[in-house]
């Protein structure tokens, strides 16, 4: 164990990895602090570059970018009342109220220090849980994986902020995309329309770039391009940061735990963790009347929860290959490309690499403190970069990124089609996140279903034969019943009244 840890630490403390972390942190802070550009989008654009790096710096780049982008989303939230990423939306009013009172440094200091602490606590919990979970999961077989995949998809629908029906539609779109290509059982090409490039399925990274970057570019260029941003002056930060930790440490601890657990749920992720932590903070606060008027407590809770969730999402990702959110889905894609297949045995087979990722996570959260202060200080300049210049640049990166992954222009078509699809989906209030999980988990579910069917010779009851599988199966079916029957019961009650 000690040997693995020291080997992992040694592989992180190299010039290449540290430089990657530094550059990714700067990139994440920049992209995160521009309204409309999400953490997922910044990671999707980064993937083609990580492609050509070694495994440790590649994953370090992804986790650093996510963590810093999620924090940086707070900057325009506090200063302009426009959250930079959806994860900051929960407390944007609170932070902006502080700015209006001329105390922007209070809100920004609180979100920076809680983001860093929440992130570090999240990684420590990740190390603890992932290892424990792996111990249990070694005994899992195709039945358990099938149910885990189903449970993941179902909770993605259950926790999405949109209506169940629209989230389900999004999920089906994702599953549909996952069926394209050669079938694993018989090798029959499905829905390829004769295109050779589709035999391997829809390439994941161009799909992600399309769904997150291209759709956002289209949305931005069709809306107001002219708006000017005015940023107020910001006072000293470090004093407030220390005071926040002294005063609110129980909140930070509590919300980091909560955020981590929520992050581990597939589909939940940092956005939902922030909303739930904020509302719980208000409920448990001694002074709930101060919420909404520019009071740090809610920012502290939600700010630590969303950064802790980033690490939590990696727990099921590493052990089961089931990502907690879209960013981690991209992360898994990169891991697999590097020849590391997430599994319960990943701690034995690639232990040093996994611990190296954890160390990279911690370093990323620590350098976020000084870099975050820098980002807040330079917010004035970043926020004044006009969109009409930024969008063509992002488009250039998107096109090149999609092309570079497979070295074929076909990937650019994939990006274009899925970008338009995502634009259409968002215009119709259909969320994107369930579709991403559908793309990732569709193959997992189908494969484990077919393997189980071969094992049990077509007996569907085989899915309930093993105790853990039966437990997971019952939980999934109960969740389906709740999702389907809930609205029905509500409707019948309404009729009676």
């Amino acid at each position: 164990m000690i040997e693995t840890l020291s080997a992992a630490l040694a592989s992180v403390l190299t010039f290449e990895v540290l430089l990657t972390i530094l550059l990714s942190a700067l990139y994440g802070l920049f992209v995160g602090s521009i309204p409309g550009l999400t953490a997922t989008m910044s990671v999707a654009l980064l993937v083609p570059i990580t492609f050509f790096l070694d495994p440790v710096p590649a994953v370090a780049a992804i986790v650093t970018t996510t963590a810093t982008a999620i924090f940086a989303g707070d900057i325009p939230g506090a200063l302009l009342r426009i959250p930079g990423t959806p994860a900051s939306a929960a407390y944007v009013n609170e932070a902006f109220a502080l700015t209006q009172k001329g105390e922007s440094e209070k809100g920004l200091g609180a979100s920076l220090v809680t983001a860093a602490i929440g992130g570090v606590i999240g990684v420590l919990l990740l190390t603890l849980f992932a290892n424990q979970l792996a111990g249990i999961a070694v005994r899992f077989s195709s039945m358990e994986y099938f149910w885990l995949g189903c449970l993941g998809l179902t909770s993605a629908v259950a926790v999405a902020s949109a209506s169940v029906l629209r989230s389900a539609l999004s999920l089906l779109i994702g599953l549909m995309i996952s069926t394209v290509g050669i079938d694993i059982a018989t090798g029959h090409p499905r829905f390829t329309f004769g295109a050779i490039d589709l035999l391997d399925g829809v390439s994941f990274i161009p799909a992600m770039i399309g769904m997150f970057a291209l759709s956002q570019i289209l949305r931005t260029v069709t809306s107001d391009l002219q708006s000017k941003t005015v940023v107020t002056k910001i006072g000293s930060l470090t004093g407030y940061m220390i005071a926040t930790v002294r005063r609110f440490w129980p909140n930070i601890l509590r919300s980091s735990l909560l955020g981590n657990a929520l992050g581990a749920l597939p589909g939940a992720g940092a956005d939902i963790a922030a909303w739930i932590a904020y509302s719980l903070s208000k409920r448990f606060s001694k002074t709930p009347e101060k919420f909404g008027t520019g009071y740090e407590e809610g920012i502290v809770d939600a700010g630590s929860a969303n950064n802790s969730a980033v690490a939590g999402a990696w727990v099921p990702a590493l052990v089961f290959g089931i990502p907690g959110d879209s960013v981690t889905a991209i992360g898994i894609g990169v891991l697999m490309l590097k020849g590391i297949t997430p599994s319960p045995r990943v701690f034995q087979t690639d232990g040093d690499l996994i611990y190296a990722i954890f160390f990279a996570f911690i370093i990323a959260n620590l350098i976020m403190l000084p870099l975050g202060i820098l980002a807040i200080r330079s917010a004035r300049h970043v926020l004044s970069v006009p969109k009409r210049i930024l969008m063509p640049l992002i488009l250039a990166f998107s096109i090149l990124g999609a092309y570079a992954v497979d070295n074929t222009t076909f990937s650019i078509w994939v990006m274009l089609v899925l970008g338009l699809l995502a634009y259409f989906m968002e215009s119709n209030d259909i969320p994107i996140a369930p579709a991403i999980l559908g793309i990732v988990l569709g193959k997992v579910i189908e494969k484990n279903f077919l393997i189980t069917m071969i094992k049990t010779q077509g007996d569907l009851l085989g899915f309930f034969e093993r105790p853990i599988a039966a437990g997971l199966g019952i939980a999934t079916v109960a969740l389906w019943a709740y999702l389907c029957l809930g609205p029905l019961v509500h409707w019948i009650r309404e009729k009676r009244h």
Binding site: F52, L175, M176, T179, T222, F397, S427
Partner: protein, 160 residues
């Protein structure tokens, strides 16, 4: 473009039906009840079900007198300029795919960046500077640092 629940439900239902029909034509796996067609049929059926629920909900609301537009267009899209800007983005992507092989990476990206920047009303100076500078920077990053071969054209042959 936002569809009302009725057209959206119809779209989902018809798509689901098409998926199911296409999946039925897949060859069966010898001696197995579940083959390549099984999963797509479930997904297609799911689309049909979602479509039906959407249509039913819309019809129920219509019966109670609440009417919703079949299709509505976002106000931002009604401005001709906004639509042209979106079209410029799509043209850029498509033109890149078509031009990059004959013209090479550098020239294609420079021309298209300049085109798009001007379409979004960026200044002449900055447009020219970015269109001349960025392709070279990206070319250096991808071919020299990341070792991804980019399509070569006469500019590349001339310079490198």
């Amino acid at each position: 473009m936002k569809l009302g629940d009725l057209p959206l439900g119809l779209l989902a239902g018809l798509f689901g039906l098409a998926v199911v029909l296409e999946a039925m034509s897949f060859p069966e796996m010898g001696g197995m009840a579940y083959g390549p067609e099984f999963f797509p049929i479930i997904v297609g059926a799911g689309f049909c079900l979602c479509g039906l629920v959407l249509i039913a909900g819309d019809l129920r609301r219509r019966l109670t007198g609440k009417r919703e537009a079949l299709v509505s267009v976002e106000p931002s899209l009604k401005q001709g300029k906004a639509l042209l800007r979106a079209a410029a983005v799509l043209v850029t992507v498509i033109a890149f795919v078509l031009l990059v092989k004959p013209l090479g990476f550098l020239l294609t990206l420079a021309l298209l960046l300049f085109f798009l920047l001007r379409c979004l009303a960026a200044g002449w100076g900055i447009s020219l500077a970015l269109a001349l500078g960025l392709p070279f920077a990206l070319h250096f990053c991808f071919t020299s640092l990341l070792r991804v071969p980019l399509p070569r054209g006469f500019v590349e042959t001339l310079l490198f």
